[in-house]
Amino acid sequence: MNNMTEQHSVTAAEAAVTQNSETAQESLVQIDDLYKKFSISGDFLDQLKFKGGKLVREQEHVHAINGVSLEVMRGEALCVVGESGCGKSTVARTVMGLLKPSAGSVSYQGERIDNLNDRQLMPYRRKMQMIFQNPYASLNPRMTIQETLMEPVALHNPNWNATEVRDKVHEVMFSVGIDPSWGERYSHEFSGGQRQRISIARALAVDPEFIVADEPISALDVSIQAQVLNLLMDAQEQRNLTYLFITHDLSVVEHFGTRVAVMYLGTLCELAPTRTLFAKPRHPYTQALMSAIPRLEDDRPQHIKLTGEVPTPVNLPSGCVFHGRCPYANDRCKQQIPQLITTDEGGQVACHAVEEGRI
């Protein structure tokens, strides 16, 4: 009998585990073959030029994202890393609907959201919130922080009365470590770390399930970075949040991320679970990026030197966008765009050299 119950409980636990892994595998946000280009030629009249006696219209574009596909799983923290200009913030903004994609689609739980109008987006805005990089710019200086926090709560809960709204705001202020009695103060009366807490509180105030954080700690000091990172991790645990975390700092990713997507010049080079990526980076760019982290070591840095500069996203290089700086580039890299292939370790990498087994 005793044996029976034991067996029974084991299967129950097993069932729970499989169920857990199933929920962990549920995809929340899908980005499918996303392209985004920005025109840099000015307005219609600026685009008109005389060429060979004819009036022609010419347009130049910055190709910020070029065919990125990503899936964010429920409950994970997907980190997007890359250097400035690689399109990571554009991905964040396109997912949030702040920018319309030039091609491709963004879906939330299977529903396409990139082609919705503002009114149709409202229910999704409640589920998806964003935290911005600079807490000095993202808080309205003319509103007290109580007003700042009450606005989204009241907007998304139209049938709540003032007391309910205020209680909610107090609760969320308390949860991020801001004394609710400071509600009457203006944002300039707070330090950078406190302001970032307030903008996190603003995102949490409508009980979202998905948060896009665009470099949320890079404007902060080291000791404050740790505080804010801890706060984000606590919030994830308590509220079962899913993060899309944009950063340039790989050591933060190692600590925080479930999976990592490495971007270069608007394309995805490598996508892998954090541990796999840090144990064995495959893409030459990921390797270079990782070797460049200043570690607390007293011996000489041994980093992989990249030659040349990042090309402009106006005239993209042919083939692999990284070939100009890649030590392993050959003719195929210069002509053919590499596709993501799945590696033995369970990651994905877009590199001809890896595919051919050259590295």
Binding site: S84, G193, Q227, D249, R295
Partner: protein, 337 residues
């Protein structure tokens, strides 16, 4: 004699609400060819220190006390003309944002030649040759064309190299670099730091590297100063500070780095934030945030205690050292008996 010796430096800012001290009791020395890191969070006074050494403070900031002796001269006492012969010549400075440092309406060559002609009596052609040579030293590709380009035509990493080349023009004895790589990407940062290290070693130039990044300091410098709220709280050989920090603030700063944490676990944060200069607590400025705070920390300013090769301003470390010494004396007495 040390190349640069700073003694009891104090910098005040005369504000309408009263005077605040941005720096107090700053004393350190720098040998020829030595690389010193100055670490701290924003507001610790590390940039003010860099400016104060060259007396570049603008009003209401001024050096209210102390001595900055460079080759026997006190820089704090020199006239503007005498200072000009030191600035950019014997001691040069590299700032954070290369776009702000370079003049946007002059070509790279014009800026470099201008700087050379200000300090040397040479012809323009010779100055151009020296400029070219310095650009080669910082590995600028096709330096001849770069000389005739404007700063906006170059990338961020390239601009910072040019700034370094300008800093090296006069073969200075000391380079003060104030967050030279903060505005740059990681891969470019690594490249620039390696370049600076190489140039300093090859030309035997002393470097004062002001940064908030302990990782960079650990890779480049030999000595480190850790600052908090306008004071030095710990200084000593970089290796010792990185491997065995004594001051609770230095320890906290290092443990707060994501690379020191266990992935997925909470980071070891320091609670609170640095106080503004007008409201520095009495006693040890770090006491409201310190995990080891004692009664004496709240009232008395900690003196420097020697610990290994480091000097630490902390009551707890002082007490530990006293106990250690007492124990040693006791064991000696026991041994004698």
């Amino acid at each position: 004699m040390a190349l640069l010796e700073v003694k009891d430096l104090e910098v005040g800012f005369g504000l309408r609400s009263g005077e605040v001290k941005a720096l107090r009791n700053i004393s350190f020395s720098l040998e020829r060819g030595e690389r010193l890191g100055v670490v701290g969070e924003s507001g610790a006074g590390k940039s003010v220190l860099g400016f104060a050494i060259l007396n570049l403070l603008s009003r209401p900031g001024y050096i209210s006390n102390g001595e900055i002796s460079f080759e026997g001269k006190n820089l704090a006492d020199l006239s503007a003309a005498e200072l000009r012969s030191v600035r950019g010549n014997r001691i040069s400075m590299i700032f954070q944002d290369p776009m702000m440092t370079l003049n946007p309406v002059l070509t790279i060559g014009e800026q470099m030649v201008e700087c050379l002609l200000a300090h040397h009596k040479i012809s323009k052609q010779d100055a151009r040759k020296i400029a070219l040579q310095k650009l080669q030293q910082v590995y600028i590709p096709s330096p001849e064309t770069r000389l005739d380009q404007y700063p906006h035509e170059l990338s961020g990493g390239m601009r910072q190299r040019i700034v370094i080349a300008i800093g090296l023009l006069m073969d200075p004895d000391i380079i003060i670099a104030d967050e030279p790589t903060t505005a740059l990407d990681v891969t470019i940062q690594a490249e620039i730091m390696e370049l600076m290290l190489e140039l300093c070693e090859r030309n035997n130039v002393a470097l004062i590297l002001i940064t908030h990044d302990l990782g960079v300091v650990s890779q480049v410098t030999q000595k480190t100063i850790v600052m908090y709220a306008g004071r030095i709280i710990e200084q000593g050989p970089t290796k010792e500070i990185i491997n065995d920090a004594q001051h609770p603030y230095t320890q906290g700063l290092m443990n707060a780095l994501p690379q020191m944490g266990i992935p997925g676990q909470r980071l070891n944060q320091i609670r609170g934030s640095m106080p503004p200069l007008q409201r520095i607590p009495t006693g040890c400025a770090f006491n409201p945030r310190c995990n080891y705070v004692m009664e004496s920390c709240k009232h008395n300013l900690p003196e420097f205690t020697q610990s290994g090769g480091c000097q630490v301003a902390c009551h707890m470390v002082a007490e530990m050292k006293r106990e250690e010494q007492a124990a040693r004396l006791q064991s000696q007495e026991v041994g004698q008996e």
